[in-house]
């Protein structure tokens, strides 16, 4: 249970355990809480500073998210140390506010891709990979499957018709020019209960070589079902990492077998940390994630929490072992370096790839892997793919500068 007391490092948790996106929100939130409990139980906190947290239900609603943020930002000894909005929409809504409040927004694998540029977005962190990076990784994977060339191939993008779903379009288009494939767009209106027309178009008219999906919530399972209904081969159907959890494939039943998705966190319950959670928490009747233990999004919650804690730990190295302010944690993020040793030490072996952030690079160079559903489990079917960051950084920069101009922001100098 969340305890807010003096001398603790406070982290607000914006969650959605109800509403249309709850099936995904629940494992995510559980992962967070279990990790924090583990840190407090196993290590007695971060260098002795206990972590406290409070959940606030957003229902994946932007305005509720803003309200949650405002309510929780001043809590704890030093205020919120960082915020994980868990929605691209809420991320957008918080960027300006949090920057003004000097609280880091950690949008792990979602939100604004161009916020990677730390000089323009000092308080936003996108590690370990943005949507643009995800799109690039998926294209790289497809390219490998197609023996290196995408010339003349048809790729369809089925996407949630919202800020989130639109993120990859520009990247995929740019890559299309470069690699020579054609891209067809198929928006699906929220919530995405009906996709028959979309899939008739895809499966019976366009007949693309590959389908990429930026789906969310019930839309994912429906898409898989409808794809099966028109006989589209699952092996050629790849979702982004938010379209690749148990909640997305299980309702589709047998139809989902063979479906793939991108991933930047590990699957399963085999990491050392899983054993520790079982021993230190579940065995002692602590922790709340039993039902979702080891699910894709549960693990992602663990990793997200771990990165946040490490940023705090890094900051403590400079500011001392005491509760830190958001501004100090921001420094921790920018100097975060999670090497493989650190990852192993934390028991996260296999759950994430190393990242290293800096003043201007808030993404940290994480790698992406493709996984496939075999009807029971997710299995990796590719090596770790490194998104082509030189190209992406140019795109990030262009977009970030545009933003800076609109908002009259003078970019920070990160060279010093």
């Amino acid at each position: 249970a969340p305890i807010v007391a003096k001398a603790e490092q406070f982290i607000p948790l914006l969650v959605y355990r109800t509403g249309p996106y709850a099936p995904s929100g629940i494992p995510l939130a559980n992962g967070f809480v279990d990790y924090f409990e583990l840190i407090n139980a196993r290590d007695g906190g971060v260098n002795g500073v206990k972590i406290s947290w409070e959940e606030c239900e957003t229902s994946y609603n932007n305005d509720r998210g803003v309200e949650c943020y405002e309510r929780l930002k001043k809590q704890g000894a030093t205020g919120a140390s960082l915020v994980n909005p868990y929605s691209t929409g809420i991320t957008y809504a918080l960027i300006e506010r949090a920057t003004a409040d000097k609280i880091p927004v950690f949008s792990m694998g979602y939100g604004r891709a161009d916020a990677t540029i730390g000089s323009v977005f000092p308080y936003v962190f996108t590690a370990p990979a943005t949507y643009w990076a995800g799109a690039d990784a998926i294209i790289q994977y497809i390219q490998a499957q197609e023996k290196g060339s995408l010339k003349g191939k048809k790729i369809a993008l089925v996407y949630h018709d919202s800020a989130y779903g639109k993120e990859p379009i520009a990247t995929l288009q740019a890559l299309g020019k470069q690699e020579g494939y054609s891209l067809n767009l198929f928006p699906v209106a929220h919530p995405g209960l009906e996709q028959k027309a979309t899939w008739l178009q895809i499966g019976r008219q366009l007949r693309p070589d590959w389908v990429i999906m930026w789906g969310w919530g019930v839309m994912n399972a429906t898409a898989i079902k409808e794809a099966a209904a028109v006989g589209f081969p699952m092996e050629k159907f790849i979702g982004i990492w938010w379209s690749g959890s148990e909640a997305d494939v299980k309702p589709a039943g047998a139809a989902a077998k063979g479906y793939k998705s991108a991933q930047f966190t590990g699957t399963g319950t085999g990491a050392p940390i899983h054993a520790q959670i079982r021993e230190q928490l579940y065995a002692k009747n602590m922790g709340i994630g039993k039902d979702t233990f080891g699910e894709v999004l549960y693990n992602r919650g663990l990793v997200n929490a771990a990165i946040a804690v490490e940023a705090i730990r890094t900051a403590q190295g400079k500011f001392g072992n005491k509760p830190l302010t958001g501004e100090q944690v921001q420094w921790g993020f920018e100097n975060l370096n999670m090497t493989q040793e650190v990852i192993d030490k934390l028991g996260l072996t296999g759950l994430m790839s190393p990242i290293k952030l800096s003043c201007n690079d808030h993404e940290g160079g994480g790698a992406v892997v493709i996984q496939q559903w075999d009807g029971k489990n997710w299995n990796y079917v590719s090596d770790f793919i490194n998104p082509r960051r030189e190209m992406l950084t140019k795109m990030y920069e262009a977009s970030a500068m545009q933003y800076a101009k609109e908002k009259n922001i003078t970019p920070r100098d990160c060279k010093m």
């Binding site: 509403g19 709850a22 209106a189 919530p191 028959k196 019930v218 429906t222 028109v230 006989g231 309702p251």
Partner: protein
């Protein structure tokens, strides 16, 4: 993109069949409206609640047929509760007030269902096949065919129910004027329990069909929004109207999405369905098959 007749027919058939799925939900609305003059906003929530209850029991290890029976009983209890707590105290209030009360019911059921069964997603598999079938060149989905048969049966049964003159007449009388219906001795409370129970059953059927398709979860309540255009197009008071409305809306929106959508950047089917329905209303303000709206002074 190119146009070809087989593809056109595929879309048409697919559209007609998904329209039938909407009809399943729309029927519940029609039932309550026709029988008590209440626009039951909670129909979508009832679909969710019925489906959640069903999977809930199935997941507890109850055999499917028994779980269905239990779900039916639960829906009847719900009808009873709604009558007792909402309709009875609000007798004879104008339709808009009752409509708002059903909004309250919606929220309550949404919250209550999630409290009981959680907000997670559950797969519901009662063995309806979901395979592409080919008739000649044309693809049809087996699941959709089953849905169409179910809806057809349901409409037939309900039509008979309303034809059974005494009850049917009483139901329509209640829809016109609660107070007058009471004054001639129609037991309003019983009638309401019956109607809401039947609507609950219809919701269960819709819940089973949609739940098998999408999994059972909160979003199921939102299919009510897909049923509304069907409802207005067919007319609030017509049971066959719900089916025909469903067919028209289903076919219309799918054809539009496929053949017009690409010119408008897509995802037009939602508003297209509503626009289509509105267009029909401009010519027939009571929907295609609805009862005439009486205006007299």
């Amino acid at each position: 993109m190119f146009f070809s007749w087989p593809f056109f027919f595929e879309v048409l058939i697919g559209g007609l069949l998904s329209g039938v799925m909407y009809s399943l939900v729309a029927l519940g609305f029609v039932l309550i409206f026709k029988a008590s003059g209440v626009f039951n906003f909670a129909q979508g929530a009832m679909v969710l609640f019925a489906a959640l209850t069903l999977v809930g029991f199935i997941n507890m290890g109850v055999p499917v047929p028994l779980a269905i029976v239990i779900a039916i009983i639960v829906m009847i209890l719900l009808a009873y509760a709604v009558e007792r707590a909402v309709l009875r105290p609000l007798v004879n209030q104008p339709p808009i007030i009752l409509f708002m009360a059903t909004i309250g019911i919606t929220f309550f059921i949404d919250g209550f269902g999630q409290t009981l069964w959680g907000s997670d997603v559950y797969a519901l598999d009662i063995g309806i096949p979901n395979q592409p079938l080919f008739f000649g060149d044309i693809l049809v989905n087996s699941f959709d065919l089953v849905a169409a048969v179910v809806a057809g049966v349901l409409v037939a049964v309900l039509a008979v129910f309303f034809q059974k003159t005494r009850i049917g007449r009483a139901l329509r009388a209640v829809a016109d004027d609660h107070q007058a219906a009471m004054s001639v001795g129609i037991p309003l409370r019983v009638i309401w329990v019956i109607v809401w129970s039947v609507a609950g059953l219809v919701a269960l059927v819709a819940g089973i069909m949609w739940g098998s398709k999408l999994g059972v979860q909160f979003s199921l309540a939102l299919i009510a929004l897909k049923a509304l255009p069907v409802l207005i197009l067919g007319g609030f008071t017509s049971i066959p109207g719900a089916i025909i409305g469903g067919l028209i809306i289903g076919a219309g929106e799918k054809l539009a999405e496929v053949f017009i959508g690409p010119f408008l950047a897509g995802a037009i089917e939602d508003w297209f369905a509503y626009m289509l329905a509105m267009l029909v209303l401009l010519f027939r303000p009571q929907g295609l098959f609805g009862e005439k709206i009486i205006e007299r002074v």
